[in-house]
């Protein structure tokens, strides 16, 4: 490995995700390889069931899969399920963030929101305990919550869907991670809030040298914000490259179809 390589780079090689359903094997992700460098946003596009979520969960070590994921030249996936898993665990939640789909399921219903921030802080010792309440408020305001004190003292089931989604995002970005995996982070939010959050992400990526991997089915978001894109179809990466290239000059038949469909949608 070349040590002079740029920081905060994620390299992915030959990821496979296979689900076993009794006798049948379902190949959710086939041989995925790509890399993203610092200050870049990668958009993963694809229809439902194309393996986007499986891929991002495998990258985060939530599904055990063969393959090689390196972050800053540190092997991530290899550590999962081995004695070294502890090292990756220290990284997760601190340097590597993850925004899951479904916001309600993602918040533990027995704890208040502030407690869940405390957990992360306690685990990774990010901020001083004295400044913690202010930091939580800041994080919540950052995601467009105007009354952080109320939200902080609520349980997840007392929040609306959009609110919970924003709290999940605030939790994932609380530690200002270097690498963020986001699985449809803005689905179901108002367009204005969606804009605000994506602008925030964009700001993080460009000014705080974060690397973002964004899974979405919204081509518009990818076209507007991402630098690179990756199109998945039936578990395979059918096209990857810079956004300009893909949108102007799609080579794969499925990508052409996808872009055509979404431009018809707009007009």
């Amino acid at each position: 490995m070349n040590p002079s390589k740029t920081q905060n780079t994620i390299e992915v090689e030959n990821i496979e995700v296979v689900y076993k359903l009794e006798e049948k094997k379902i190949h959710a992700v086939k041989d995925a390889s790509f890399n993203v460098t610092e200050r870049k946003m990668l958009g993963i596009i694809g229809e439902t069931g194309s393996g986007k979520s499986s891929l991002i969960r495998a990258l985060n070590g939530l599904i055990k899969s063969p393959g090689d994921v390196r972050f800053n030249n540190l092997k991530i996936l290899d550590e999962v399920g081995t004695k070294n898993e502890f090292n990756f665990n220290k990284l997760r939640g601190k340097n590597v963030g993850f925004i899951p789909q479904n916001p309600f399921g993602s918040l533990n219903p027995v704890y208040k929101i502030s407690k869940q921030f405390n957990f992360i802080n306690k685990r990774h010792k990010i901020y001083d305990v004295k400044t913690l309440p202010d930091k939580i408020n800041e994080a919540l305001i950052d995601v467009g919550i105007n009354d952080p004190d109320r939200v902080k003292n609520s349980y997840s089931f007392e929040l609306s869907g959009g609110m919970a989604q924003r709290v999940v995002i605030a939790l994932a970005t609380f530690s200002k991670p270097r690498l963020l995996f986001a699985d449809e982070p803005t689905t179901g939010l108002d367009v204005t809030v969606e804009r605000q959050l994506l602008d925030n992400f964009f700001d993080f990526v460009k000014n705080k040298s974060m690397t973002l991997v964004l899974v979405t089915h919204d081509l518009g978001i990818v076209a507007q914000y991402c630098d690179e894109a990756l199109v998945m179809y039936k578990g395979e990466i059918v096209e990857k490259g810079s956004v300009n290239e893909i949108f102007k000059n799609p080579r794969d038949a499925y990508t052409q179809q996808l872009i055509k469909a979404s431009s018809e949608d707009i007009s």
């Binding site: 985060n60 665990n89 939640g93 899951p100 993602s106 533990n108 027995v110 957990f119 685990r123």
Partner: protein, 272 residues
């Protein structure tokens, strides 16, 4: 504090009532000065109908039914409660372990299957018959009956919670395995667990009564609802109903109280 607040709430009047009934049967006998000693027989006054001096009447050997009904609660509730609590303490880690997707988990479930293939009440009788007829062995039998139940319940609950997205998120946030079990898994199954513990205690009361009804476990002169019902059962046909009725009512009231509390806990946790 929150418990006190809940008990004082007007909507929970039945729960408060149940709570105090159980308190009364558990500890009442320490504070009440009985007009007749529950452990002293009075042959001259045997099989008296309920009257002013003996408000629940007397039984075949002249024991005062009233004082014995209350004293029996102390022992019966102690056996069923302590048996349930110990079973819970053993069953909780077992159930959590069994909810993992490992070989160890499969083995635990196999052993439980073996256990549950026996009729458990018969097993309890065998244990007490083999190891001696004392209260400790009755408690042991109660534990043995209840551990498989708790383990199964906790396993199935933990399996559902493990699939929840927030467990995955906790992993993604760097939570260690033990942390996820104690901070995320356990609090989410606590409600069901407490509710089940309450019902199990109620069931244990019936088991203890059944055991002492067939003369196992608590033996006279020590008082127990089961043995009192047995002693009175021979006289039911000849019209002396009071010797069996009052301990039977005590069992009914205690079981109902535990069920009410269990319902209440479940309702509280489901509204969360």
């Amino acid at each position: 504090m929150t418990v006190v607040k809940l008990l004082l709430n007007k909507n929970n009047i039945f729960v408060t009532f149940s709570f105090f009934i159980l308190l009364f049967f558990s500890f009442g006998s320490f504070f009440i000065s009985f007009p007749h000693d529950p452990y002293v027989t009075d042959i001259a006054n045997r099989l008296l109908e309920p009257n002013e001096t003996y408000i629940f009447g007397t039984d075949e050997v002249g024991f005062d039914v009233f004082s014995r009904t209350i004293v029996a609660g102390k022992i019966d509730l102690f056996i069923s409660l302590s048996g349930t609590i110990v079973a819970l303490i053993i069953g909780l880690p077992l159930g959590l372990l069994a909810s993992e997707k490992t070989r160890r988990a499969e083995r635990i479930m196999k052993v439980l299957d073996m256990f549950q293939a026996f009729p458990l009440l018969v097993l309890a009788i065998v244990i007490v018959a083999m190891w001696g007829n004392n209260i400790r062995n009755v408690i042991f039998a109660i534990i043995l009956i209840n551990v498989p139940r708790f383990t199964r319940l906790i396993r199935s609950e933990a399996l559902t919670v493990r699939e929840k997205r927030f467990i995955e998120v906790a992993t993604a946030m760097g939570g260690s395995n033990s942390r996820i079990i104690f901070k995320h898994l356990m609090p989410n199954i606590l409600g069901t667990l407490l509710a089940q513990a309450s019902i199990t205690t109620a069931h244990s009361i019936v088991v203890v009564a059944a055991l002492s009804f067939i003369g196992i476990g608590v033996v006279p002169p020590e008082a127990s609802w089961g043995s009192m019902i047995r002693a009175g059962s021979q006289y039911m046909t000849t019209g002396q109903w009071w010797t069996s009725l009052f301990p039977g009512l005590a069992i009914l009231v205690c079981v109902l109280s535990f069920n009410t509390i269990s319902q209440f806990i479940l309702r509280k946790y489901e509204s969360l």
